[in-house]
């Protein structure tokens, strides 16, 4: 458990304090106050523009046009009413709100209105444009939508993680991460490292893309039914989703490394081609945006294979089998119990599938649909609660084929290539052991070295701003509300 870090909030931007009328000082349009009745229904009035087969107008344009007309309505409302609220909102005592995670069954899947969010932003991320994008694209929309915020700039690696150890979470209705998947990774791990992790992890999270490593944002964009877009368009869509306030539960991946380190992943674990970078250089500890550059071609030129052993528990096999006794970490009360995992020193349980030791090009465990804003890696459908996508590419694939697969992945058509070297299976747990020394893993884009790693999914464990899918079953209550279930030991086969 971390000691008390000398946490200083990232430089607090005075201009970021919620202003009385909810408007950014430099915002061009006259935005009405939150008390304007015209503002109340407008969010609901914005139609859910779902893409029919991805055709028709680009979504983001469509959406912006409607926001534009909403702006006009609000302006008209403001000038007509003419009156200012009597007191600036920021000086009022915070009124009691319905706790989002109300165990009694309150509005669990919706952020309150108005709401307060903490925005964590890495100013050096996304080619240094993150802060600028926040000001130009996010801030005005939050103001319109009664979302007040405080901006915290992160100064270095693990800063966000440390901030989460100390933060008084009751002050916020949601934590907004505007940076990349790496920052969300830090936030989630920071929350799980708190003594009150069981409630802390239920704090709603939101991912806003800021130019690098935006797989989460791209995935949420996809779940909402929007067209695949990038950059500012993606940012607009995700900001809109935050303003709409809907929440959906997401899976969390619990990982255990050979060293004993336990880490949580919100997105992915990659080994091999994707993760093989020069970890010596400090600036490359994080992968950044997954996309095609000259660098990727170079890696393709130097294509090598990675020897390893892979095993997994297929999702379809779980219902019919009682999970193995959780022999791991009985003393470790921090974090959920990984009921499917046995210690790394022991062989995997008998009901797991073992892939014979061989040469791989890559192995990827993925919790979401996208690996990057233009890498639609898991088109096979919305990740079912409790399952994640497992891909692996066996050695023998040619450079041409691999290149083709990555190109096809932009539109999610790589599975149609019928490449015999590419294998996909939905799983709930896996174990990966590199056999040529230590392996390089990328967890949510964070580079780690380990001899072996295993992990399992915890279904519907975190809450994120996202359109809930109508295809999902009604949400079960978060696991921490249920009494821990310890199954009887399985009879030896």
């Amino acid at each position: 458990m971390p000691g008390r870090a000398a946490a200083r909030p990232g430089s607090e931007d005075p201009a970021a304090r919620p202003s009385p009328r909810g408007a950014a000082p430099d915002s061009a349009s006259a935005v009405s106050s939150s008390s304007d009745p015209a503002a109340e229904g407008d969010d609901a009035g914005v139609p859910t523009a779902r893409t029919p087969d991805g055709e028709g107008e680009p979504h983001s344009q469509h959406r912006d046009a409607r926001l534009g007309s909403t702006d006009k309505k609000l302006k008209a409302g403001a000038t007509a009413a003419g009156s200012a609220p009597t007191a600036p909102r920021s000086s009022r005592q915070p009124e009691p709100r319905v706790e989002v995670m109300d165990p009694a069954g309150g509005p669990r899947n919706l952020l309150p209105r108005p709401c307060r969010v903490l925005v964590l932003l890495n100013p050096r991320g996304g080619k240094g444009k993150g802060l600028q994008l926040f000001r130009s694209h996010v801030q005005p929309r939050l103001a319109q939508a009664d979302v007040s915020y405080r901006l915290m700039l992160t100064e270095r690696r693990n800063h966000a993680r440390e901030l989460m150890w100390e933060e008084e979470l009751g002050r916020w209705d949601a934590l907004v991460v505007m940076s990349g998947d790496g920052l969300m990774h830090e936030v989630v791990n920071g929350l799980m490292e708190r003594p009150d992790w069981e409630t802390a992890i239920r704090k709603p999270l939101c991912s806003l893309p800021a130019g690098s490593g935006n797989a989460l944002a791209a995935s949420v964009n996809h779940y909402a039914g929007y067209e695949q877009v990038t950059n500012e368009e993606l940012l607009n869509n995700c900001t809109l989703l935050l303003c709409r306030r809907r929440l959906a539960p997401m899976n969390l991946l619990s990982l255990r490394m050979a060293s004993g380190l336990r880490v949580f992943s919100v997105l992915s674990l990659a080994w091999g081609f994707i993760a093989d970078v020069d970890i010596e250089s400090e600036k490359f500890r994080r992968l950044g945006e997954m996309r095609f550059t000259v660098g990727t071609l170079l890696r393709l030129a130097a294509l090598r294979v990675y020897r390893g052993q892979l095993a997994y528990l297929p999702a379809e096999r779980v219902a019919s089998k009682v999970p193995a006794t959780p022999a791991l970490d009985r003393q470790d009360q921090q974090g959920p119990v990984d009921t499917h995992l046995v210690p790394l020193e022991e062989p995997v349980p008998a009901h797991w599938t073992v892939v014979p030791e061989q040469d791989f090009v890559l192995v990827l465990a993925l919790l979401h649909s996208h690996l990057g804003s233009e890498m639609f890696a898991a088109p096979m459908g919305h990740r079912a609660a409790g399952a994640m996508h497992l891909f692996y590419v066996r050695a023998g694939v040619s450079r041409a084929m691999l290149l083709r697969l990555f190109l096809a992945m932009e539109k999610g058509r790589h599975m149609e290539c019928d490449c015999p070297y590419l294998v996909y299976v939905p799983v709930v747990a896996f174990r990966l052991e590199p056999k040529d020394g230590k392996g390089m893993f990328a967890v949510d884009g964070e580079l780690m070295v380990s001899e072996a790693v295993q992990g399992q999914v915890h279904p519907n464990y975190i809450w994120m701003v996202s359109e809930p899918s109508s295809r999902l079953e009604p949400q079960p209550p978060p696991p921490s509300q249920q009494p821990p279930h310890v199954p009887p030991p399985e009879d030896p086969v």
Binding site: R291, F292, G295, A301, A400
Partner: protein
């Protein structure tokens, strides 16, 4: 290997040190305890006919590209032909002298700076030697990777998609080509470069 009369004299060693980026330390001792330069010399001599392996002859000799390609370190490298042409000083750029060979090795060694490496990488990828990487150069680059066979090359639309992606990422001034500084900029952000641009005998 080696033997009579093929050890480099101190004077020659000093001269080669000035010409290349291998430090004297490395030339004399090397990271594994053997002289990197002398090792290079031995490997070079192996490509020469027996009767031409004396010190004087070997320093004058030129080796054809095909022979250089036979070196295991280069055999699997998809860019071996461009690499050799860039370092060749013969008029037809079809052969390498020992000096050329040393230049090649020094650029690909651990001691060459990223700037030097990226500068040479640029020249290697500039197939038409016109000082920029245009769509045609990039296309040839990709074809080196995929192979030229009918069933392995990318289709025209795949190629276009790939090159569009690369230019989107690298072509800062949006002129449709990648110049040296744009190339060095994108390379500096790529962690793969150091690993891919390494040849150690």
């Amino acid at each position: 290997m080696g033997g009579s009369g093929s050890r480099l004299s101190k004077e020659l060693l000093a001269e080669y040190q000035d010409l290349t980026f291998l430090t004297k330390q490395e030339i004399l001792l090397g990271p594994t305890g053997s002289p990197a330069c002398a090792r290079a010399h031995r490997r070079f001599c192996e490509l020469l006919p027996l009767e031409r392996r004396s010190m004087e002859e070997s320093l004058q000799a030129r080796v054809s590209l095909e022979q250089i390609f036979s070196l295991p370190e280069l055999k699997a490298n998809p860019f071996r032909e461009r690499i050799c042409r860039v370092f060749s000083t013969s008029p037809a750029r079809d052969s390498l002298s020992f000096e050329d060979f040393l230049d090649l090795l020094s650029v690909f060694s651990d001691t060459a700076t990223p700037d030097i490496k990226s500068h040479y990488a640029f020249r290697i990828f500039d197939f038409d030697d016109d000082g920029t990487l245009n769509r045609e150069d990039l296309s040839q680059l990709v074809n080196c990777l995929t192979g030229e066979g009918e069933d392995t090359r990318l289709s025209a639309s795949e190629m276009k998609q790939l090159i569009d992606n690369i230019l989107e990422e690298s072509d800062i001034d949006r002129d449709g080509t990648i110049n040296l500084s744009e190339f060095q900029h994108v390379i500096s952000r790529s962690p793969d470069f150091a690993n891919s641009f390494k040849i150690v005998l």
